[in-house]
Every structure is written in C-alpha cells, then in structure tokens.
Symmetry: C2
Subunit: 594 residues, 2 copies
C-alpha cells in the first residue's frame, strides 16, 4: 500500500508517494532533505527531529498507545524512528548546521566544484584522424591529463557507445562504460580524538546522503593525543599500530555507510578529512613526537593531497584525498574547517571555541585572526570524570537539581543512564553553584541531605542505582569538580589572553561560535554560570554543531574552500600559551567561580 507524505521545508512543499512501512528519515534523505543523523539513523543522536502530523490514524513504531485512532496529531519525532503507516505531513526545520549556513555568517554553496562527472560520446577515429582516445576526450571536454587507472579503464570500454569520466582539475581520474553521472559520491570526514563523523555526499548535488559516527578506535591506546604519542614511543610498532587501527576503523565506517545507502565504494572518488594535527600525523603514519614536547613543532602543517591507494582507504584507488592545512601542532585542519563555515571577521570581532578533547579558541576581526590551544583536557568529553562518558547513547546530557535533591536529567537515546557526558557535567557543576553546594573555590560545603559521600569524597547523587543503566548510583564528585575547574580555567584563560592580544574587551565580541559535539549540546547559560565562557556573551552564542564536519564537507565540494583554507593558514597568528606567565596567572584566577 502507498501513502502520501507531504514535506514542508524552507517554505516549499513537496508530495512524495511512499510504500507502507518505509522509514521516514530514509525517505527524507533520499529526497535530498538535510536531516542530519550522526548516528546513521539508529535513533541515538536525536538530530533528525521533524514535526510530523498524521492525517488519519497512527504514526510511529511504538505509538499505538499514545495516539488514538482518527485524531489529527502533530508531534516532534525523530524521523529515523517513524515508520509510515498513514498519509503524513512533515515539517523539516533547517538543521543546526543550516541555521548557521542561512544566517549569512558563512559563505554558502559550491562556488567552484572540485570534481565533475561527464558523459561523453566520441566521434569514431578514421585513418585521416588518428588522434588517440585520451586526447579526443581532452579536446572535447577541456581536460589535459589522465591517470593510468583511467587509461586502463578507457582501454576496456566501448568508446563508441558513450562513457562517463570523472574529472578533477582537468585530470581524468576514472572512466566508466555508459552514463553513470548519477553515481558520483564523496566522503567528508571529521576525525576527532574521541569520535569520528563520516559523511557520504552526493557530489552531483552537493547534498549529504548519510552520516556514520563512531569512536576513534585509537582510544584504547590513550584518551588524549599526548598519551597516544607516548604509546608510539613505548612500543616499537606503536606508530604503525595507531595508523592501522584508525584506517581499519574508518574503512569499516565507510563500508557500512556506503552499504546502508546502497552506494558502491568504487563510486566514491573524492575524500576530504579534517583532524587535529596529531591525529593527522598518526593517520599518515608520521611520527608526532615533536608535537608532544616543547616547542611542539609538527612535521608538516600544509594541506595535503594524496590518493586513496597511498593512504589505504577502501574507496576508488585514485580517489583524491584532501586534507586542509593546519596552523600549528595544536591548531589543526579541523579548526581551519570550522573557519570555513564561520566568517569571524564579518561583524567586527568573532570568537570561535571548539571544545573537543582539546580546546581551541580563535578570535578574529578587522583583518587579524588569533588562535590558541588550551590543554583543556578531555574532561569535556567525559574522560577523567568519575562517571564520565562520551556523548553517546546512555549519557546524561543535561540535568537540573531541585531543592529537594531530586535530579531531573535527559539521557541520550532515552534509555536508563550509564554516565555523564560533557554537557551534563557543565549542568551539574552549574547546579552545584546555584544551590550553594560548592563555594567559589569549587570546594563542596559540608555534608547535607544533598551532599553525600562517594568513596570518601563529597558528591552529589545524580541517579539512584534503581534507575541507573549500570545498576550503580551515579555521582558527581569533588574530584570531578576539580577536573572541571582545570578544563574551564584553561579555556577561560585562553579567551582572556586572546582578547588581551587583540586589545579588545569581552563586550566587543559580537558573536561567540560554539563548535564540536560538546559545544553543540552544552547549555550556554550554564557554560556562562560555570565560567567557561564570559557571561557578557551568553546571548551572543551561536552553536554551529560539528563545524569541522561541515567544513570538511565544504572542502570536499568547493575548490574555493581550498584557497580559503590556505589563506587562513597563513593569516592565523598562533599565540603559544605554555610559555606565558600571564597565562598561568589567568589560569589560576579562572579556575575559581564567580
């Protein structure tokens, strides 16, 4: 049976005829709507929210009990968990990334497509016209070179019946029999220290086909980049091992993502990837030890281009892998990617904070861009926190403490909680402050009905064992507050130093862009309350979601982004904090609470 789904987005409306039982998210993505799903549509990330109105009866998989028959019901739902059993009206809001994209703060659209795919028919050669086939193509479409693999392909296909070529900067990368212009894909990646996002992109339309997110499998060799570098020092094969697990992980992700969307990995002809400088080194198998120790100098920082074969990615062997430049050892291509999505200089001064395992801060305006990196530590990713965890299924992502000690919390994936992620930690500390349970030095006050004990440390009980997904209590402890103070002190001090260097006050910053998974989920008010970011900027916060991932996509699609990336690398002045006495002073100050 067929149902009609009417989709409203950006003021337009479109009617789609779909089979009963179809997955709504799948349908939306297939029809080109920007409905992000970092979890690949598995109901985990909560990013694919849409407004759904059922015309007649039931929507949703498990909703029989909630909606009565024959009622019109409008509700916010995760598109990926909606199974079509009725005619539906769906409102798609521009996703977070698009909020930014459409706010005029970033350059949007593809200005100069990096690759193209063209269907060609050649006139047959004659004894009077013996020009070779490669040059026949060059003459027809304006290319000037061709890789060996494409020559081999060209030799084996019928030239007279028409064929399709993939072109990158006047070079032919691939030749295929028939018209395959519809099968034209790229991969954009954001390889974080903790998590990896892989985007499958239709290179013809520029649209995202799907997303795959996963943990960085290097995690087992160290939570942060410095411990991974140490691992390469301790183990003779350590560097190769770190490269191998990361490549294997990425290849697994690409394979799953491609299979999910019925895309042949051989049709993936371009890849962009962004990462911090250490991860980039480790991915390529380059020794990163010089980044770990002062003066923290990387082996390379310029943008790179190589083939999938060289890197070892399981896509088309001659696919172009592009990596944007890095600035220094602790400001990598991921930050350049953020800046491809945000023009800091648009309104006098803009401040970008990308809080992942490291905390990079960029302040730009009036022709000048300053950047610094703070050893924020992985506390914001849940590491070193007693019940900390990454922002994945089962993590408490927000919380609120009532006067009676009851904690209201939200859990990613709506399952019993297993721990606390970064945004939950911020909320927790903010609540401790609001209720006066910790003082300005971050020290818990005396035991009380609210302040209990966990292994000899004062602590707030967030979840009782009976409600916990791990069958243990979940606490926020004194140690966790101290870890938080170290992290937030570093970020706040970094902001202060950059403002000083730029010689401006906090209030001159017209926009504060929060990037990264943590930045996307954190409650801006609580980020201000706890002093991570200046209170003056609370109402100027713009969350750009995974800016690095979005920038990676732009780098994949838009040749202009390659130019901009190289310009940014040259323009950004890095402020090294480790050698500055004023940073130490600011850091100690900023660890306090106001």
């Amino acid at each position: 049976m067929k149902y009609q789904v009417v989709v409203e987005a950006l003021g337009n409306s479109k009617e789609i005829s779909v089979d009963e039982g179809a997955n709504l998210w799948q349908i939306l993505v297939e029809h080109g709507y920007e409905v992000p799903a970092y979890c690949g549509g598995s109901g985990v990330c909560g990013k694919c929210k849409v407004q759904v109105e059922a015309e007649d009866c039931l929507v949703g998989q498990n909703s029989e009990k909630r909606f009565g028959s024959h009622d019109k019901v409008q509700e916010t739902r995760l598109a990926c968990s909606v199974v079509v059993k009725d005619n539906l009206r769906v409102k798609v809001e521009p996703p977070n990334e698009l909020v930014v994209l459409t706010s005029g703060l970033v350059s949007q659209g593809i200005m100069k497509p990096r690759l193209k795919k063209e269907f060609i028919t050649l006139s047959p050669p004659t004894l009077a016209d013996q020009m070779d086939y490669a040059n026949r193509i060059h003459t027809q479409i304006g290319t000037n070179s061709i890789v060996t693999s494409a020559l081999i392909q060209l030799g084996s296909i019928s030239k007279e019946e028409g064929f399709t070529v993939v072109v990158y900067q006047n070079k032919i990368l691939k030749a295929e029999p028939g018209n395959t212009t519809q099968k034209f894909y790229g991969i954009a990646m954001d390889i974080g220290t903790t998590t990896i996002a892989i985007y499958l992109v239709n290179l013809q339309t520029g649209r995202e086909v799907g997303v795959w997110s996963m943990h960085n499998p290097q995690q087992k060799y160290g939570a942060d980049v410095v411990s991974r570098i140490n691992y390469t020092l301790q183990e003779a094969q350590g560097r190769l091992q770190l490269q191998k697990v990361l490549l294997a992980g990425i290849n697994g992700g690409i394979k799953s993502l491609a299979a999910k969307h019925k895309v042949d990995p051989q049709d993936i002809v371009a890849v962009s990837l962004v990462a911090n400088t250490v991860i980039t080194h480790l991915l390529l198998g380059v020794n990163a030890i010089t980044i770990a120790n002062a003066p923290y100098v990387p082996i390379f920082s310029d943008g790179l281009q190589l083939t999938a074969l060289e890197l070892g990615l399981d896509v088309y062997s001659q696919a172009i892998i592009s990596i944007p430049p890095a600035v220094v050892g602790y400001v990598g291509s991921d930050i350049i990617a953020d800046l491809l999505m945000v023009n800091l200089e648009l309104n006098n001064y803009g401040l970008l904070i990308d809080l992942g395992t490291n905390g990079e801060i960029v302040l730009g305006g009036k022709g000048k861009i300053l950047a610094c990196s703070t050893a924020a530590g992985p506390a914001f990713e849940g590491t070193n926190i007693t019940f900390g965890m990454a922002g994945v299924q089962g993590a408490i992502s927000s919380m609120k403490l009532a006067d009676d000690g009851n904690v209201e919390y939200a859990v990613i994936g709506n399952i019993p909680p297993k721990g606390i992620c970064g945004s939950g930690l911020v909320d927790g500390v903010a609540e401790l402050l609001r209720h006066g349970l910790i003082d300005e030095f971050g020290t818990f006050v005396e035991y009380s009905p609210l302040v209990t004990d966990f292994k000899g440390l004062k602590a707030l009980r967030i979840v009782a064992a009976s409600n916990s997904g791990t069958e243990d209590d979940i606490f926020l402890t004194q140690k966790d507050v101290r870890e938080f103070q170290l992290a937030k002190g570093a970020v706040a001090a970094g902001i202060t130093i950059l403002l000083q260097e730029m010689e401006i006050s906090k209030s001159e910053v017209s926009a504060l862009y929060l990037a990264g998974g943590f930045g996307n989920y954190v409650n801006p008010r609580n980020a201000c309350v706890t002093g991570i970011i200046p209170r003056e900027l609370e109402d100027r916060v713009i969350r750009i979601g995974n800016g690095a991932g979005a920038g990676s996509k732009r780098y994949l699609l838009d040749q202009a982004a390659v130019t901009t990336g190289a310009e940014l690398q040259k323009k950004i002045q890095y402020v090294e904090l480790s050698s500055r006495l004023d940073f130490q002073t600011q850091f100690v100050d900023a660890m306090m609470f106001e």
Copy 2:
C-alpha cells in the same frame, strides 16, 4: 700492489692509481669514461674496445702466451676482459653514441637537472618559532611540497644532525638521515619489442654507471607487437600476463644491475622509459587492441608521469617514472627519444631510420618533421629467417663471400656461430648480389658450386657443420632473401614517400641517422647495395647506436628534454602509409634490386 693506469681520451690524459687485479672496464667507468658495455661487462657485446699498451710486462687475463715479458705491446682489447697486472696506457675512443654527441648534431649536457639531492641542517625550532619541519625545509631550499613517504621519513630522522632530501620540481620525494648526496641514482630504459636496455645513471654526475641488456620476456607471447595484441584477445588474462612478465623481467634486470654496481635500489629515485606505443600500453596494462586494427588509434599518446609504486617497479616507491610522448600508434616514445639525440633540422634535411622489429622513418628540415612507420617485420631482428637470431652472442654479424665460395664472417662474442642476425643478413644478401647469385628480382640463379640446396630451396652455405656452434650447416636461403625483400622494400618505399611528401630529392638529405641495434651494426655500404637506404646517402650515414636508449637517458636527466619531447610530439606529422596506393606501388618497386 698498486699500478698506474694512464688514460687518454678526447685529447686529455689522466693518471689513475689502481690495485693489482682490478678490472679495467670497471675502473674506466668509475672514473667517468664513456665505455659502453651493453652486456654489463661480461665480454659479450664487444662494445668496450680500448687501445691498451702495457709498459712493462703482461696485460690481460689469458695473454701470458701472447705477450712476451718486457716488451711494449699495444693492442685493441675489450676493457672488461683486461685485468691490471702492470702499469698501463689506455686510449679510450669516443664510443658510437659519443661520436654523435660530440658532432654538434645534438644538444649535449644537462640543461635543467630534473632532480637534485641536497644535504640540509636546520636551525632548531623554539617556542617563538614553531614553524613545522616541512616548511623549514621549503624556506631553506625553495621547495613547496612533500610526498607522504617523505613526511614519514622526516618524522623518524634526526632533524638537528643534518639530513638529505631528494627534490623533484620543488617537491620533496625522500628524506634520509645524514649526508647521502653521493647515493643518487636513476634508471633509463629502452624497452624494445625484442630487446631491453637498462641503464643505471648517477644523477649527480649524469654519468652512466652500468648497462643491463636482456630479451623482452613478452617474446614468448609473440615476436611482434601485433601477435602480442592478438594474444591479449585470445586469452582472458593475456593483458595482465603480458604486463606481469614484462614488469618481472625489468625488475629482475634492475635488481641485477643495481647489485652488480653495489647500488641500493632504494637509492634509485627516478626512471625514464621509452618504448613503442604498443609496448607502452602493455607495460601499463592498457588494452592495445585499437592500435592493431585500422585506424590504428592508441588509447593515449601523451607523455606520462607516475610513481614506481603505481607502475610496480622495485625501486624507491615514490621514484618518478617518466615516459615521453608518442606520436601515433606506430611511432612511439622511442622515436621521440631518438629525436632528443639528433636534430634533424640542423642541416636542411635529416633522415632518421630506426630499424628494430618495426621500421620507423623520420624526415625533418626547414621547420617540418614527417614520420612514417613501415611494417618492416622482424626480419632485421633475425625473426622469420631460416637461421636467423637476434644480435646476441653467437650471431654472425657480418660476412664476406670469396670467389671460391669461402665465407669469412664475424661472430658476436667470438664463439662458434649459431645463426645470423640482421646485419649479417644484409651482408649476405649484398654478397649474393655482388657475386651474381641472385638476380634483380631476388631469385637465386641456377645451382652452382656456390649455390647449393637446403630443404629444397636454393641457398648459400655460410658455415659448414664442422665450424658451427650448433653442429649443423648454416645457410642463407631463397626464403630468407624473400623475407629480406619484404622488409627492405617497406623501408625503402617509406623513405620515398616521405621525400615526396617533403617535396625534396634524395640528394637534399644531408645526414642519414641509423638508430637501433641493427642500424648500429649494419654495414652502410651493404645497406645501400641491397637498397634498404638510398645509394646517394651512403657517405652521409651516421650511426647513433641505441638512440632511443641515449634519448631515454637524456629524458631522465634533463628537464629541457621533457619540453622538447612534448614539442616534437606536436610538431611531427604522421604519414599513414597503409591507406596510400602510391605506397603500394613504391613498395613493389622497392622489393627489386638495382
């Protein structure tokens, strides 16, 4: 014990102190003298002849009986078979290739070296100067990019103690610890249908270190290129098989050559290779079927550049492999390589004939270059000749018939003869004509004391079984004369057509360059007598030896040759003979003898 060897070459004299027992050829090559040895110094090819004068007593390995003690003896010897046991005076004549090189007909020397190797010491980075290592190198030596392999190497070597980089066109290909500027090698190859020459070249000095020659292992799949293409049609895996055996053969040759000269294949960072268009296709695994059938169109003809990794050559993985452009399906990069060594337009008109398995003819002058290819067939390489063989050890390379029927002959390697190679065939046919044993139609006259019988065919006995290396008689038969007529008719008709197209007479050609192994050994007078080349040009013949090999070396070393190669490709006008009625007429005429 040490001896003094005084070497005289090109008017200069140099004294070298050498250990007793040293090999003279080795010494000469090590000191930069151009003493070619296509056999790699194994006493086979006879190319390394020098004049040797022993000051006091003995020279040579087996010469005790021939030279008395305390006599001064001067003799022509193969340098590779001379073992130093005395003070020697050696005269080195410019080898064939150098005769051409110094005649002013070709551009000599390296104008723009393609690669360089530089030793670098970097000033250590500081917190105030955190520039990455790659950009430190770029700043110091003017490079602007670096391949991933070199980044990996750079990461693992001490940057402070100095290191060495290989640079190709502002790109760093390799980084090595310490000063390795002396270990800097390239390979130049000429891959013929029948034979392959591999040259090991010192990229610092531009000098040839050694040569390796071998059969093309594809021979077992067909003597000529068309039969090899047919093999790829008949066998599903044929194309891969032909590529595989050729690569394996080349890799074996490179390995042997490098080992012989104690060169690490990882120090080989550049390779140039020239071949006819079909062999180039087959080497890259590209289908060549369109070249076999009219209109004979290749898949590609432009020059190519790829890495050793891509091609599958066992040298440094990122070594640059360069292939000059081809003109058409039957005028390949080997002919462009010839033309890199010979400027046809220098003295009005120049004619180049490269007689290998195919016969390519190029006529140039006054701003115009014409080329054609004749299906000369492999007769000149000994194929299809009753006792034919390639120009290798045991082949009769020249002969003279006395009135009494006695045949005087020279054998390559000075061993009992096993067969007749191309130059021997030409001499044989010329002698048949001189003695009136064949008529103007190439038909043997009646049986006589000189004209005997071989398997029912009239024939000339060249070698009696008692003197033969195969313990059989060796004959030149009526069938062989017919094969020769087909080959020479094609070449002579090709020359006539090119002269017609250029609208000049034979006598306006001021130089006739003979290239290829056959061209190098053939007796020019007999080539004229038998009508392969015009009699008018006998005294204008210049033998350029393996012009394609020499051109390949120049392409390896000289960036200017890359430009010239591309210009030649554009400039040369190909004259397709197969469709011309006038060619057929000329061909029939030219099969006759004058």
